[in-house]
Symmetry: C2
Subunit: 353 residues, 2 copies
């Protein structure tokens, strides 16, 4: 406020440089730097002088220059397909929280599923702007990610959809046990014809949940019926279509395990269209426990993924990586937990006699 140039309309609010502060305080730039960063030994006298100038003129260090000099930017890239899905935004929130605690900031890069775009973003992330990255559900091939790793770029993958390079740290949820738990819940309610509306085949999330689904069925001696396993795409529309197909089977399922909440919501819509009541006629279980699960009617029984915690964990790993510390657990799998709500109930007693 004191200096005229601060208020010039031209935009470049010409702030003090470290050199000017040094001159004003009668010390060297090196001393100012050490005072600012609280490093090493500085005489009380010098410190006081510097602090006084800083306070009166309002100096604050230029992060760009610091980045260039120090080789670290304090910026972490975060890529994700889209922001406006609660699945992603909750992870993002967790990651942001953790980054803030480490005094770093995140550069957000929504890829909108355009692979090429993500590539150039990674290119850009690597070259000077960021110290590392958190890649949420990246659509790169394993080779691309390996190459990135070879180049010495530091990053952590959250919820990889293909098995990545062994050496790249990953964070994900316990797909298999979560799926098992969901199916066991349905089994305990007496259901035996339990359908699975899966995500795209080949994705880790899909395959592992499928494994958990089959394993749970196997424990009670139910043979998996291929017609009850319908592949879909993690969208509500996909869930709706898959469920319509299932309900047209001659021997339709009494319960549906949808591989995420969107699919489950689609399933509920399909049921409603056919006048099938949930949970009386059909039980539905989702996966994720996004916000939507708690507001649909009936509220959705689902497998909770600790999404925010996944974001935080990813940052924790990345920070260790950036500090060149050894990471003990390269692949972290966080526990899931079944949240029972209103969309599941005991199987209806067969009307037949």
């Amino acid at each position: 406020m004191e200096s005229l140039d601060d208020a010039t309309g031209n935009g470049r609010s010409s702030r003090l440089t470290i050199r000017e502060v040094a001159d004003l305080a009668g010390v060297s730039t090196a001393t100012v730097s050490r005072v600012i960063n609280g490093r090493a030994e500085v005489s009380e006298k010098a410190r006081k002088a510097v602090m006084r100038v800083v306070r009166e003129h309002g100096y604050s260090t230029n992060r760009t220059a610091r980045a260039l000099s120090g080789g670290r930017t304090g910026l972490v890239g975060v890529t994700l397909p889209v922001v406006h899905h609660s699945y992603f935004s909750v992870i993002l929130d967790g990651a942001g929280e953790a980054l803030y605690d480490h005094d770093m900031r995140m550069v957000l890069c929504p890829t909108h599923h355009e692979h090429e775009r993500e590539v150039t973003l990674l290119e850009r992330l690597m070259h000077g702007t960021t110290d590392g990255a958190v890649l949420i559900l990246p659509e790169e091939s394993g080779e691309e990610l390996s190459a990135l790793h070879e180049h010495g770029y530091r990053f952590v993958i959250v919820d990889p959809y293909q098995p990545p390079d062994e050496r790249v740290p990953t964070v994900s949820a316990a797909h298999t046990s979560g799926a098992s738990e969901a199916v066991e819940h349905l089994l305990s309610l007496g259901h035996r014809r339990i359908a699975a509306v899966t995500g795209p085949r080949g994705w880790i999330a899909t395959e592992e949940r499928l494994r958990g689904y089959r394993a749970a069925l196997a424990t009670v001696g139910v043979m998996p019926d291929p017609r009850l396993e319908v592949e879909s795409d993690f969208s509500d529309r996909g869930g709706l279509e898959a469920t319509q197909a299932l309900l047209e089977l001659p021997d339709p399922p009494t319960a549906i395990f949808a591989f995420n909440d969107m699919l489950a919501i689609g399933a509920m819509q399909a049921a409603r269209r056919r006048g099938i009541r949930i949970p009386e006629d059909l039980s539905v279980v989702g996966f994720d426990d996004t916000f939507e699960a708690s507001i649909v009617t009936p509220t959705l029984t689902t497998v909770r993924q600790p999404l925010a915690e996944m974001g935080r964990m990813a940052v924790a790993l990345l920070v260790r990586l950036l500090e060149n510390q050894r990471i003990e657990a390269l692949h972290v799998e966080l526990a899931t937990k079944l949240v029972v709500r209103e969309s599941t109930a005991a199987v209806a007693v067969p009307v037949a006699g």
Copy 2:
């Protein structure tokens, strides 16, 4: 891949500098710079030589150095209270999209409603890291924002919750006309006792929607009933409580206009708890048209705000600001649109007689 040092495990993947490229191509750094940035006149021979080296060795310019030299970082700060609400994340998506088109990236700063936090974030945004910012629903006082403006920092406010400095560009939706449209819809269905569950009093969004609500009522000669205007906080829990109170009135409303979708969803929950059917016994209208509005049962009639467009518009304004262009419209108000779904119906014929 060629150079050994690229693959060193130490992390600093020592890439080529512009100087090395210059030496390899037998030209000066200035020439390389001009080739890279496609500026001015460069002989075809020199350009070819440089391009060859770049292609073979994989040079790409260090953004940090460029930022220091050029004074622009290509980074734009985006602050918002929280990421994981569809309201915010959709705006964010729009902004991200627009920034990408301008070859800029966004530094995301969730404030989590901690004012102090936002202040230090702004501090940090200002000092060297970003060229400007988009502030979504900032919790700063008008004075603070004015001061920021005085300092020459460039920013745009999306959906200010207090009237900001005249000179600061803002983007928001047409609260008043949107609210009027919602209420007119209810009026046209025969409703006369229409309650408003508002956001916090004093916020622009609240006051303007309230004005629209009252204006619409006035056009048909309905006097506003203070008992039908309940202040709340834009949360589903708040909507639930406010609606419970309304339903206990001796003369309860036949329709509720909730000032956002969360409140509306809370209202629906309150109705369900009392066994009141929507829309048969009670009509509900929301505001925003977030994703949730389309998946609740019944689906929610609501006023659509063009959230993504607001994000894009904010970036458009900011870009002009950064380029020192004159901005013709400093305060942009985007049109809203009523989306009629299942939660509203003609008022029930009074049973009394």
